[in-house]
Amino acid sequence: MKTLILLIGTFLATMPFIWMASASVKTFKEVVSSQRLLPAVWTLANYRDILERVGFLQAFFNSALIAVPATIAVVLGSAAVGYVFAKYHFWGKEVLFRLLLSTLMVPFTVVVIPLFLTIRDLGLINKLGGVLVTSLCSTFGIFLMRQSIETVPNDYLDAARVDGASEGWIFRQVILPLARSSASALAVFTFLGNWDNYMWPSILLKSQGQQTLPVVIAGMQSLFVERYHLWAAGSMLTVIPVMLLFTLAQKQFISGLSMSGLKG
């Protein structure tokens, strides 16, 4: 019974993707006329159209230019701040930490207008940098890394300090390796969050050539009205890299997700 329910769930969760994969190698005529899963005529023309006509590679590259630096910055930044909050004692530490955590209560919709004006003042409208600069820190990341680094025994740090190690060395050689599992969960989580983000890039990036993958993909609905074979090919190209990453890092992602219940 339990297995049956799970098999039905598995079917329902994957079927739309299978249908999309099938439509992406069909001709337009077949997509709108046939309901068979396997195409009568296999074609890769849809993929060629997408790559040539939509500026797909540019969008892919743009998305990577935001998601990769943001992930590196968030993981290293959160680990460093997490280390300071976990292991240092200073005046006002807990108040400061609570102040940072309070930003989790602010929904993005609420700050989108002032944030847009801030980006305008920095001259970053329509530039990838405008999206990147707002993604450089993560409150959830700081919270997660502090929790994780608090479990590192103080003796390790004291031993290293007695031997004359600098704080930077301790951070790189002791803290980072020991907080590896949380850091990789955070990395996968941050990368996918940035890669899939639509709202902010769609508001900020208006000119072609500057847009990220989700924005370009969403634009296909007005660019190719009801040309479902092209939509399917474009969606496939967007979804496949993410699926591969998820398959390789399933454990990290799910642990990140179950910890995200703590934010809110």
Partner: protein, 294 residues
């Protein structure tokens, strides 16, 4: 308490100063500006000369803007439907997932696949599947002898269609939280129930369900907070249509601000949304203080 020695002090400053500058500039200042913009008549080209107008914008959206009420009503309906659909379905899957002996990783993989892909691609995919003419959903309905639906293009079905897409996309996240909650219940109490001769149904309703109560409340609140901010799916699936039946508060804010440049109105609507979400969040914080005793 150990005090900071020189190297720690330097490292701490090196780390904290840039982070605090970032928070000041991209978090705290925008929140302050957002509140301020709701009570001034913001002049885009000459911000320093924006006159103070008090609660005029709030008065306008509450009394003159029917569109605001439409958006508020739709958003609340959406949040309610999401809770009604998400919690029971996720609970069924989480229960099966927690108690299945083989293949858990594979089922997990499949159920979470929709969570990781971008909403933009998912929305396009479902516009294709829900096409009234050539979409798979209506083919299936016709095949089993049911009347086809207009899905996203019908004013009575559009809201349910959007909820369906969101449920499919976000179910995995809720399942993770509930599975973690279920696996956190000590096995010993189940053994005790078995000794007493309780059947599986009794065990679920009398023991699992109450013990999971705290996690369920948390899930309901997370679903509510997320649903109140819904934007991407709706904008791509229906753009708020047909006839504004799926027009949500986030779309109201974004369109008022970036299409019509009415920053004050948009900011006041954002403040209302903030207040509602703040209340829900405070309820959540209150709840998460309660530690459940087994």
């Amino acid at each position: 308490m150990k005090t900071l020695r020189r190297p720690q002090f330097r490292f701490g400053l090196l780390v904290l100063v840039p982070i605090l500058v970032w928070y000041l500039w991209f978090c705290f200042r925008p929140v302050f500006l957002g509140l301020q913009m709701a009570v001034i008549d913001y002049k885009l080209l000459d911000p320093s000369n924006s006159p103070f107008v008090g609660l005029q914008h709030f008065n306008m959206i509450f009394t003159q803007y029917e569109l605001f009420w439409t958006a508020a009503k739709n958003t609340l309906t959406y949040a309610a439907l999401m809770n009604l659909g998400m919690v029971p379905i996720a609970l069924i899957f989480a229960y099966c997932l927690a108690h299945v002996s083989r293949g858990r990783v594979v089922y997990q993989w499949a159920l979470f696949l929709p969570v990781v892909v971008s909403m933009a691609a998912v929305a396009l995919l479902f516009r294709f599947l829900m096409d009234p003419g050539v979409g798979l959903f209506n083919h299936v309905l016709r095949a089993v002898g049911l009347p086809p639906s207009k899905w996203l293009t019908g004013s009575s079905s559009a809201m349910y269609s959007i909820v369906l897409v969101a449920l499919w996309k976000e179910l995995g996240g809720t399942i993770v939280l509930l599975t973690a909650g279920l696996l956190g219940i000590p096995v010993g109490i189940y053994d005790a129930a078995k000794v007493e001769g309780a059947n599986a149904w009794q065990v679920f309703w009398r023991m699992t369900f109450p013990l999971l109560g705290h996690t369920l409340k948390l899930v309901a609140i997370l679903v509510t907070i997320g649903s109140l901010q819904v934007y991407t799916s709706v904008v791509i699936l229906t753009s708020g249509g047909p006839a504004r039946t799926t027009y949500m508060i986030s779309q109201f804010i974004v369109e008022e601000a970036f299409t019509h440049f009415r920053f004050g109105l948009a900011s006041s609507a954002a403040c209302v949304l903030f207040l509602v979400i703040l209340v829900v969040t405070l309820v959540q914080l209150q709840l998460s203080k309660v530690r459940w005793e087994y």
